[in-house]
């Protein structure tokens, strides 16, 4: 593993830790202090129906599965890199990724699309 690659993985690790800390703080504030959550809504504006349904489906995945899926699909990390980053066995990463992809496909089928369509219609109404 090259130095640049290692540095990149370290950056990912730092980013993950900061993000988890942020989540915990936000959940703590929402639970104990009653501070409203502030979601980052990716592509909240100029969104499409497909994007809304996809976001809806992604939210239903487990956190670890979602992280593995994101790291693979959007960051292009290999299974070994994901395993190192999340401190998981490589076989676990592979099986979880498969499970996440299958679950996502299931969620993107008709019932979920209907829900997403309703959500999309609501969001369009708001905008």
């Amino acid at each position: 593993m090259s130095l640049a690659h290692s540095f990149e993985l370290n950056l990912y690790a730092i980013g993950f830790k900061l993000l988890r800390g942020h989540w915990r703080k936000a959940a703590f504030r929402a639970t104990f202090l009653g501070v409203a959550r502030q979601f980052l809504e990716p592509a909240a504006q100029h969104t499409t129906e497909a994007a809304v349904s996809l976001r809806h489906a992604l939210r239903k995945l487990g956190r670890t599965d979602r992280e593995i899926l994101f790291l693979r699909e959007f960051e292009g990390l290999s299974y070994a890199e994901i395993a190192e980053l999340l401190s998981l066995p490589m076989n676990t990463v592979r099986s979880r990724l498969f499970r996440a992809r299958m679950a996502l496909r299931e969620l993107l089928t008709a019932p979920a699309v209907k829900t997403a369509s309703r959500e999309f219609a609501e969001s369009e109404g708001r905008v």
Partner: protein
């Protein structure tokens, strides 16, 4: 899809599409995909899912997060320590399981510490011993004094013997010299009163108390000198305790009664036994108290005499005679009580109380006879066993005493705690 009909696992199909298989594995999966429609469909589904995701554009991370990541990365790359210590950084990334475990361990440690500390406080044998020492102090009006003497030998366990002596046998007030050798001149002229003619004497009566702590080099010689000093000055020990524990300095705690005129001489002789570590002297003026007592006693005696005269000279009804006799009996009781009080008061003024603490200057001895290794190991094991069982017993006693209360508080706090915990996890999952 199973591996009996499909030699390739579905995860391997996915890995093939992701380019994660070796060349040989990739060729095998590729060949299988050409023959198997079901696996080809799976591959298409996986490709479709990836395409769906690729069409979704993720918004870039906030600047704050980017800046934080770069800041930490630069510091890590330069090998510098970040602002907070590593333990706090690690703690900030702990999972809820780690937090729960850590807090549980801390809480359990605190409870155990509290249990042991509480048991130590409530079951300390030293407290009981101290209480016994106070209780065992003889009342000052007792004529028979009790002396407790421990076995002062180094060998063998300390054994306490109690003997009784009569102070009047060793003290003769008639032989008491009237010279007071008080170096501090605090008690000059005291103790030389004549109790029977106190009302005529202006000399004050003072009950004196001296506390003296000495550290001596030769303990045995000091003990002998102490006994000789007491005998020479007609003094006695109201209570005496000698300790001679192994590998510890020997000591004597004694409560001495010294004739007041000889207090100064006795103190001077005691001081030269060793180094004076602490000395406290106090005096309580009892002159007025004694004078009042004597006056009341005199009045009561006169009353008794008058009643006796009435009884002898007057004749009358039998009831009157009985009343006079009852009155004589009451007055006689008062007289005897006051005479006892007078004696106690005079004794306190005549005999000063010296609380002596004599301690040996301890030197560890190289050639001290130490037990064999097996004996010492055996003793250590026995002591360890007793300590362990005692600690366990204290913990059990603590929970027997406070367990229900702790349980009650846990029940009270559990419901809102669980609700908050669940809410927290719901919030965390929703983010």
């Amino acid at each position: 899809m199973n591996t009996t009909t499909h030699p390739v696992a579905p995860e391997e199909v996915m890995a093939f599409l992701d380019g994660e298989l070796s060349a040989a594995g990739g060729q095998a999966v590729s060949a299988h995909l050409e023959d198997c429609a079901e696996c080809s469909e799976l591959a298409e589904q996986l490709r479709g899912t990836s395409n769906s995701l690729s069409r979704w554009k993720i918004e870039s991370a906030p600047m704050e997060l980017t800046a934080s990541v770069f800041d930490l990365a630069v510091k890590k790359q330069k090998g510098r320590k970040v602002c907070r210590s590593s333990i706090f950084i690690r703690a900030s990334f702990w999972t809820w399981k780690q937090w729960t475990g850590g807090l549980g361990v801390v809480a359990a440690s605190l409870i155990l510490l509290l249990a042991v500390a509480t048991s130590n406080r409530t079951h300390s044998p030293e407290m009981a011993d101290r209480a016994l020492m106070f209780v065992s102090e003889s009342a000052p009006q007792e004529h028979r004094k009790r002396i407790s003497v421990d076995n002062t030998g180094v060998d063998g366990p300390p054994v306490t013997h109690r003997i009784s002596i009569t102070p009047s046998a060793i003290v003769s007030r008639q032989n008491t010299p009237g010279v007071v050798a008080d170096s501090n001149r605090l008690f000059q002229g005291l103790g030389d009163h004549v109790p029977d003619a106190l009302s005529l004497s202006p000399a004050p009566m003072i009950a004196r108390t001296v506390s003296l702590t000495l550290v001596v080099k030769d303990f045995n010689a000091s003990r002998a000198i102490l006994d000789a000093t007491l005998a020479r000055h007609h003094s006695y020990a109201a209570e005496l305790t000698a300790n001679a524990a192994e590998n510890a300095p020997r000591s004597i705690q004694a409560s001495l009664r010294v004739p007041a005129p000889e207090l100064g001489s006795v103190l001077n002789e005691l001081r030269i036994l060793g180094r004076v570590e602490n000395e406290t002297q106090a005096g309580e003026e009892v002159t007025q108290q004694h004078a009042d007592l004597v006056a009341r006693l005199k009045n009561s005696l006169e009353t008794e005499q008058r009643l006796q005269a009435i009884l002898q000279q007057r004749t009358g009804k039998i009831t009157d005679i009985l009343q006079v006799e009852q009155e004589i009996s009451r007055v006689r009781g008062e007289i005897e009580q006051m005479e006892a009080e007078q004696k106690i008061l005079e004794h306190r003024a005549d005999f000063a109380a010296v609380n002596l603490n004599l301690r040996e200057e301890y030197k560890a001895q190289l050639n001290a006879p130490a037990g064999s290794v097996s004996t010492r190991l055996h003793n250590a094991l026995v002591a360890g066993f007793y300590n362990t069982s005692e600690t366990v017993l204290r913990i059990v006693l603590f929970f027997a005493e406070y367990g229900l209360t702790i349980l009650l508080w846990l029940v009270i706090l559990a419901s809102p705690g669980v609700l908050l915990w669940r809410r927290y996890h719901r919030m965390l999952a929703a983010l």
